[in-house]
């Protein structure tokens, strides 16, 4: 069933358009259900690690119990390599049938006509009842609905209780960004006094998400609906200057430590007691920290403006189907299973974020850290505002540029003013290329 919130005419036009594009023979009209007798092989690509690969294998086994004639050939890479490969596949018209997808690339791929419009399948092959309207709207871009969120996540402050206990410092009790700096300094000083190699955290001005939080606390998103920046070069310079003191007095772990640990973070490597990140990173942290660490703290990020709604729920990841797929019905069937099935919820827990589908969330039976993440997202309800617009084309490039400039500030090879200037040059290219 199509959602009644959508105007009937555009939906009909979309269906006709999709029919014209993919159903020339008339035998595989979009919106039709998969014929269970048809032998189909689907390719599926995701980013992640061995742990996530194991979870997907379990999910596909459950899928094949229900759909034994659909074979899923899957492959995975780490996040940067995943997108490098998709770029070349997109150019050659060879994208995998089904992909784990990231919000920051949605606009680029959707506007380029590389993704299948899921609108004809929503309410039919893909059950949309278990999703809220807000979640479904996440995939709406370029006059269609091109992806469906598997899960949501929110930004949070992770801490390591075992390390804090070892140096005798209490958990961060919440507060302003200055309070957070003070707490980090307390941890770093305590560790230094005991001869332990540990810092309170890293220079948080190296993450664009923290800049975004401060922007949203002031009532603005990073970019407008039209993709124009809501900040000036001076704003950015002032933001980076906030990190001067913790960079210089050794409160934050230095850039050299960060580089040496990369691609893991210094928090993964037990070199810092805290890290600001998306809340679904928790299971990955525990996996990388090793068996001697069994729990993590998760609290809201610092905030300078009382009552501000700086946080938001983001799709941790989405699923999308290539426009070139030969088996849209089977692909939509697989997507439905991966986003709605309770069995998949039980397998993944919060590995992909908090399940966005109610049926999958119920199946997840969250415990331990998974339950902690769910409780965290409930606890920040007052700070949750509307999600920002779908990221601009090239957002991934800007995010990485921001990270690298942050590291250069830590090395002292650049000043905040020069960093802001370089970022704006890059942004000019990205926005106007």
């Amino acid at each position: 069933m199509f959602r009644t919130t959508r105007p009937a005419l555009p939906a009909a036009l979309l269906t006709i358009g999709a029919l014209a594009l993919t159903g020339c023979s008339g035998s595989s009209a979009p919106g039709e259900t998969y014929d269970p007798d048809e032998e189909v092989t689907l390719t599926f690509a995701f980013w992640g690690n061995e742990v996530r690969a194991g979870l997907y294998e379990q999910a596909f086994e459950a899928f094949n119990e229900e759909y034994p004639r659909i074979t899923v050939q899957n492959s995975f890479l780490d996040f940067p390599a995943f997108w490098e490969k998709r770029q070349t596949e997109a150019a050659g018209g060879g994208l995998p049938d089904v992909m784990q997808f990231d919000y920051s690339y949605l606009r680029q791929y959707a506007e380029s006509g590389l993704l299948l419009d899921l609108a004809p399948y929503l309410g039919g092959v893909i059950d949309d009842e278990p999703f809220s309207d807000e979640i479904l709207e996440i995939g709406e871009v370029a006059d269609g609905n091109f992806a469906i969120a598997t899960s949501t996540n929110a930004f949070g402050l992770y801490t390591n209780p075992a390390l804090l206990e070892a140096v005798g410092v209490e958990e961060f009790a919440g507060g302003t960004w200055d309070d957070y700096d003070d707490w980090m300094e307390e941890v770093s000083d305590a560790a230094s006094a005991q001869g332990v190699e540990l810092w309170g955290g890293v220079d948080w001005t190296g993450r664009i998400q923290n800049f975004e939080l401060q922007m949203r606390a002031g009532g603005e998103d990073l970019f407008t609906e039209d993709g124009e920046p809501n900040f000036t070069q001076d704003d950015l310079e002032a933001f980076w200057e906030q990190g001067d003191s913790i960079r210089e007095d050794g409160t934050a772990a230095g850039s050299q430590k960060v580089e040496e640990a990369y691609p893991l973070s210094v928090f993964d490597s037990a070199l810092t007691a805290s890290e600001l990140n998306w809340d679904n990173f928790g299971t990955g942290y525990l996996g990388n920290l090793g068996d001697s660490y069994t729990e993590l703290g998760l609290v809201a990020p610092p905030l300078d403006v009382e009552g501000a709604q700086d946080l938001f729920l983001k799709p941790a990841m989405l699923h999308a189907i290539a426009a070139t797929t030969d088996h849209p019905e089977a692909a939509a069937t697989l997507v439905d299973f991966l986003v709605n099935s309770p069995e998949v919820g039980a397998v993944f827990g919060t590995n992909r974020g908090l399940p966005a589908s109610e049926t999958q969330l119920e199946g997840a039976a969250l415990e331990g850290l998974d339950a902690q993440i769910r409780d965290y997202e409930e606890s920040i309800a007052d700070r949750l505002g509307d999600a920002p617009p779908v990221p601009i084309v090239g957002y991934g490039t800007l995010e990485e540029k921001f990270r690298q400039l942050g590291l250069e500030l830590g090395f002292g090879t650049i000043t905040p003013g020069e960093a802001a200037s370089q970022f704006f040059s890059e942004m000019d290219i990205v926005l106007n290329q």
Partner: protein
Amino acid sequence: MTTTSTRTVVTAAARGRRRSRAAAPPARPGLKRKTLRETLAGYAFLLPWLVGFLGLTVGPMAYSLYLSFTSYNLFTDPRWIGLGNYVRMFTDDPQFVQSATITLVYVIVGTPVKLAAALAVAMLLNYRDGGATFFRSAFYAPSLIGASVSVAIVWRAMFNTDGPVDTTLSLFGIELGGWVGNVDLVVPMMILLAVWQFGGTMVIFLAGLKQVPKELYEAAEVDGAGPFRRFRAVTVPMLSPVIFFNLLLELIGAFQVFASAYIISNGSGGPAGMTNFITLYLYKRGFSDGQFGYAAAIAWIVLVAVGVLAFVLFRTQRSWVHYAGEDR
């Protein structure tokens, strides 16, 4: 009289030519057919290579040159921007300037050091025959595995903080810390990795050293030349073509450093862009940032730089390369 005689001679000569033409078999048409057949056969054999060369080398290069004048992200049609990419590179991209600078440092410092190491070991192996096969293999092995992912990973582990290199240096009171994340030490570390892979160059030097006539050394020794003088007056001139060959190859190879930088920095080009060598930078601009027009422009600048360098080397070789049999 004179005129008549001359005409007679000319006429006779012409008659002779006509006779000889008439008497000779009709060789030319046959030869033509044969030549045409041979030519066609030649082109037929050449065709697979020619198609490959035009389709896989010349075609893509021409397209790449065209792309270098466009803004192109793979998803939409290329948009012509003239010299925009080239102007941006030199006026509005500090990352490119940094990348080009560290690449030049790597080439200018790394290549002579690598050649010197290769020549030194080649001379050592040339001097002693005992166990030569084992030592040649041992020194050559890093070149075979040098570009592999595993070696770069091992190199990263060795030079990290508390790695074997750091620990060993600490024993001698040298506290440098890790090299991998150190802005000042990561380029020397990359040069060391390149120098360590001197085996291929060494084998070529060794082959060159075997060709130097022993009599020259004996004559020099009789004349009272010491080891250094013999090296300067005999080895270097006689080996100069091989030095030139190795220098050219190593310079071109050094410009293309990619795999080790990619692995050691996990593709980031860090710390602070110090392993962002030019090929890694253009790769990231293309495949990570989707700026394929810009990446193509960088690739052409690299090509021109390497071409200019090779041209200069070829021009200067007259003054220092000695080819046997040449009288200069």
